[in-house]
Subunit: 254 residues, 2 copies
DNA sequence: GTCCGACGCTGCTGTAGGTAAGCGCATCCT
DNA sequence: AGGATGCGCTTACCTACAGCAGCGTCGGAC
């Protein structure tokens, strides 16, 4: 049996993890929630940048919680091109959706060196059974992820390159702020223009044009791995970005 | 208490509903699963074509199971344009995803006259608790829906107009075949070229050209509300469509 | 009847964004 | 030092698609 103060200490260390910070944005987590959470963190693993850690068609892979670094999930097309569906940042799940299917339907590639905790599906369900609030928070986070995919889809279908790029970078800013990396001013961004292009359905050359345009219009500067929002209000208006997303500080449900 | 043979009769009538047919494609449903299912069907409602039955920003709306007709979920953009995220056909949920959020993040519009069963979130969770297999099947169906949204996103990002249109119509064909409407040969399709355009991120005029092109190449005919696959193999190849999707007849998990 | 609105179809013109190619500047290797 | 290699940046040219305008057909309202 663990002594209460040791438990507390454990909860203290976990509370600043990106995953906990993200969930805490949806519901207020109790100490017991946090200790259950910390159990999920045990099997920490490290992956180098560039080598896929999940392939489409691969059967029965584990689920990870990203602790550090960036990854992306993408699909390959026969022409050799690819479409990046979403980027994962600290606090996000890797491969949660495809755990229900026996086979993954997309690839996941670490963009930087990545640290992630491997979670057994069984342990996760077990944790849900013990702490319903945690289950609610995770489901909520999953719904938010899906809503972001939908927003991405809308952008690809009906927004032009500039709006789309602005919207994307605003959204990344909001997500990073939520887990304590980055702020309203900007964020450190390890994405190359090629990655941006594959995510936004554009060519790398055109991404370059778009970034220059945004820079020259005094809206946003993306240089040397750093995104700076030069005119946040202007960007939000241009991209039709839901600003509530960027702003909320406390949990939505107490 | 219902007599066993009455129960059986009830299960017999429900088994041919689109919803049950769809779930049965994922897991084999027992008689008791089917009776639980039939309880969900009680509050049947009818909606006329064209008038939205859910608005983005609307709070605390119910969930429906579509029994007859077509609907679409879409998002409006400030320019007055819209992007259709997905079409719903018999057997599909309406508004399942946004039930976790307090407010819906998209609109749902009936394309034809629509019959749908209103389901209380509580009843649904109750049904899940009683029949885990049903819960599995529903989760599976939800995952499939999300996978389709992802595939739609990939199409918008990296497929040209012809491939995208072909892929879309193949997918609708596969979905309709699953619930017993339509076949490998084709299906009845109430979508106007304007709706197609809003879903595929194109203009209605260009959809028209694309459909003509597909027709002239002997691949597919879409005329008078009827889609006919003239050259299924050619279409599958052109669109890079996952044919396994179209083929499976029995449940994936027994 | 004839008016009117949906919807489908086509031709013309403009443009957003793709493709190809090349340069500069880092970093890494040998 | 010299050559790879990767990434950012730019220019010139080309195409897939949008926008607009117009015309035909069907079906419903009056």
């Amino acid at each position: 049996m663990v002594r209460p103060d040791a438990k507390r200490l454990c909860a203290m260390t976990i509370v600043n993890s990106p995953f906990a910070r993200k969930l805490a944005a949806f519901v207020t987590l109790s100490d017991s929630d946090l200790t259950v959470l910390s159990d999920l963190y045990r099997r920490r693993r490290v992956f180098p940048a560039g080598r896929d850690l999940m392939h489409q068609g691969q059967t029965s892979h584990p689920v990870y919680i990203l602790a550090d670094g960036w990854a992306c999930s993408y699909k390959l097309l026969p022409g050799g091109t690819r479409q990046i569906v979403d980027f994962q940042i600290p606090g996000d799940f890797l491969g949660l959706r495809s755990v229900l299917f026996r086979t993954a339907d997309h690839n996941i590639e670490p963009i930087t060196r990545v640290e992630a905790s491997e979670v057994m599906a069984h342990d996760l369900l077990d944790a849900f059974a013990r702490t319903p609030r945690l289950a609610t928070a995770v489901l909520w986070a999953a719904s938010r992820d899906e809503a972001m995919v939908v927003e991405h889809l809308v952008g690809l279908g009906r927004r032009n390159a500039v709006e789309r790029t602005a919207h994307f970078l605003l959204e990344m800013g909001a997500r990073l702020k939520l887990v304590g990396i980055g702020s309203k001013a900007g964020f450190a961004c390890p994405l190359s223009q090629y990655l941006l292009a594959d995510a936004l359905g554009l060519s790398a050359v055109h991404i370059n044009r778009v970034l220059r345009e945004l820079r020259e219009d005094g809206l946003l500067t993306f240089q040397h791995g750093q995104v700076v929002f030069d005119d946040l209000a202007g960007l939000v208006k241009l991209a039709d970005f839901d600003a509530a997303y960027l702003d909320h500080d406390g949990p939505l449900l107490r």
